[in-house]
Every structure is written in structure tokens, then in C-alpha cells.
Symmetry: C3
Subunit: 140 residues, 3 copies
């Protein structure tokens, strides 16, 4: 049994879901670990992780619209607004989705379903460099 | 230190919370692992996992009603609706709950609290065969 | 590769976010494990875990207000109300946040970002003794 760690950097270009599955599966192959547990951690409080339908791009539009309505950007609604109207909604949208995910790895692949994709969910309007921490523990 | 993996198949009969704690605890006993980390992964995008109160069945009714109201099935509300009015709400309800859970195992049991039960949360109206991936890493 | 487990007890004084990062990092140091995977599990159904902005206290006020509005305490709204108007909302707020979190540990520290703090999110009005289960698997 052994472990490996890695840090990905992802440049976001405003709000939305950015597919990151391929970065993660490529790194698993590099480690040589075939059976184990993968953990993906997002060390930010204004972007998050989610697993979603990877086929129809309109799913991502519906998700964006849903979160705009569930956690509105609205002047005067939040006390904390140092960094603009998207500051506090970004924290709340992060809370309602995931900062981390742990996924079994079997036969050298994360056990995502056919329709599952892993996404970085950017909640800020401005472009950011986001770091993602990867950890894999298992056997060859 | 060693690891074990397993796949459960669960037949759902429409929307609702299906208790799966016993399948998971039975499998842990079979592995012989006494201290470790259990991961439960749901490889679908229209059903999810949740840990909830396991005693009063009205809790599950309140949960169902709450999610119908938070993420309504409503014609014209979502662009993505290939598979009917429950298609996009199923993805959103999955996003707001869990696709995976990792739980410490001590003395051969997952460390669920007395009132905690593990549930598969089916979001589709039609009956489905759902697969759940289990992974356990630890020591005898 | 080895593992360690621990149970924290935290006394809450009504609803709100209670910082617990320092309890967790102190315990990691005690274990002597430097690289590994930390899991924090909350074995209750009326309080939960969340990772949030740790600097500006008004973030916590905005979070409290947001959850009061998203999952209202309202007489007659829920069937399950044995323990008062905060009973069912506590279960629902737990479902929308986390019962467990797994975080990579590198250089003896969980890989939290600079602005990330780990919080116990108490959803009940009355004071409670809450237990948190910690599990760490890794190498020195």
C-alpha cells in the first residue's frame, strides 16, 4: 500500500462548470496505482467541486440558472460584500456543493458512472487561478 | 493494511429514500476489516446518497416535500428535459446532496450515530437498477 | 502505512458555526502522521460539517440568515416536529451540507486553503454535547 499527492492549477474564466475529469484520470495513470481511494480537494471558499451529467451542455446552463435563483446576487442582501455582489453567493454556493470528493479507484480508473463528469464549479465572475489537491492511496 | 471493493445493485421503485445501511454493514463484516475507512460511491447523476434520521418515517415525507419545493418539476423551467420533467430536477437534487460518503470504521462498524441511517435517494419517477460502489481500506 | 482514530466532544450553545480546525490539526500532530488522508465524521442528524471563510465574522451571519430563509422554521410546514420547530429544519440543513469530509494531509497539515476553516454547524436552538469522529490513515 502506498500513496501519492499532486496539485493541479486550473485557470477559470468566470462563473461556470469546468470539466476536470481528464486531469485526474491522467494523474492516476501516472501514479501506477490500480486499486485505491482517490480524494480531490478544493482549497478555496468561492469555488467548489461537483459531479454532474457530462453529455448535454444544456445541463450546465440549467445548473447555472438554478444557482443564480437559489442564491441570488443582490445588492443589500448580504452583509459580507468586500469583493462585490458575487462574494457571499460564492461562499453559499460552495457550501451547498462540495469542497472535497473521495472516489474508489478500480482497474486504474475512478469508478465514475458513464454519465458522470467531475467539475470545478467557479462561483466568481473574475478569472482566477484555482488549485486542486489530489491524493491517492492504494496498490499497484 | 489491505483493501476490499464491492458493487451493490439496488432496485428502486420511484422517487424516495431507500435504506441501505444493512447492505453496507453486512459487507464490512464479510471483509473481516475491523478498523478502517469505508467509502460509498453512487455512479449515477439522477440519484444520490444521504445520511438521515432513521426512526420516524415522516422525516422522509418531509424531505420529499422539501425537495419538490426547492427544485420543482415544472414544464418550461429547464432546457434539459430529454427524459421528462423529473430529468433536470434529478441532476440538481443530486448536486445538493452527496454522490459519495467516506465513513470511519471502528470495531467492525461504520461510526454512524444511533439515529443515522444511510439512504439511496432516488430522484427519478420510474423504477431503476442502481449500482453502488463500496470500498474499504484498513486492518483486521 | 498506519491509522489512528479519535473522538472529539464539542459543547454547542445554540445555532451557529463553531470553528473546529484547531482541534483537528492538534490531533494530527499528536498522531505523528505526516502524509495521509484525514476523515472527519459527524454522527448526528441535526448538526453538520462545513468548510467556510474563516476571516470575516459577518460571513457566518450571512450563512445563518441564508439557511433560515432556505429552510424556514415554520409551524405546520413539516409533519415531523417532535422536538420543536427546529427539529425538521435541522435534518434538512444537515442534508444540504456535510456529515463527513475527507481531506489530504501533506507536511503534517490538512491541505486547507488560507481562507478555509472547518466548522461544526449546529442546527438546534438548545445547547448540545456533540461528538466528532476523526480518522487518519498515512505515513510518518
Amino acid at each position: 500500500m502506498r500513496q501519492a499527492t499532486h496539485r493541479l492549477t486550473i485557470r477559470t474564466g468566470g462563473k461556470g462548470l469546468i470539466p476536470i475529469t481528464h486531469f485526474v484520470t491522467d494523474w492516476i495513470t501516472e501514479t501506477g496505482i490500480v486499486t485505491g481511494l482517490l480524494t480531490v480537494w478544493c482549497p478555496h471558499t468561492s469555488c467548489s467541486l461537483t459531479v454532474q451529467e457530462n453529455a448535454d451542455p444544456t445541463v450546465r446552463e440549467d445548473i447555472a440558472r438554478f444557482f443564480e435563483s437559489l442564491v441570488p446576487e443582490q445588492a443589500g442582501r448580504y452583509v459580507h460584500s468586500y469583493e462585490g455582489p458575487d462574494d457571499m453567493p460564492a461562499h453559499l454556493r460552495t457550501m451547498l456543493t462540495q469542497s472535497g470528493l473521495s472516489i474508489p479507484v478500480i482497474d486504474g480508473e475512478p469508478t465514475f458512472g458513464v454519465w458522470q463528469g467531475l467539475y470545478l464549479f467557479e462561483h466568481r465572475r473574475a478569472s482566477h487561478h484555482r488549485e486542486i489537491v489530489l491524493h491517492l492511496m492504494g496498490e499497484e
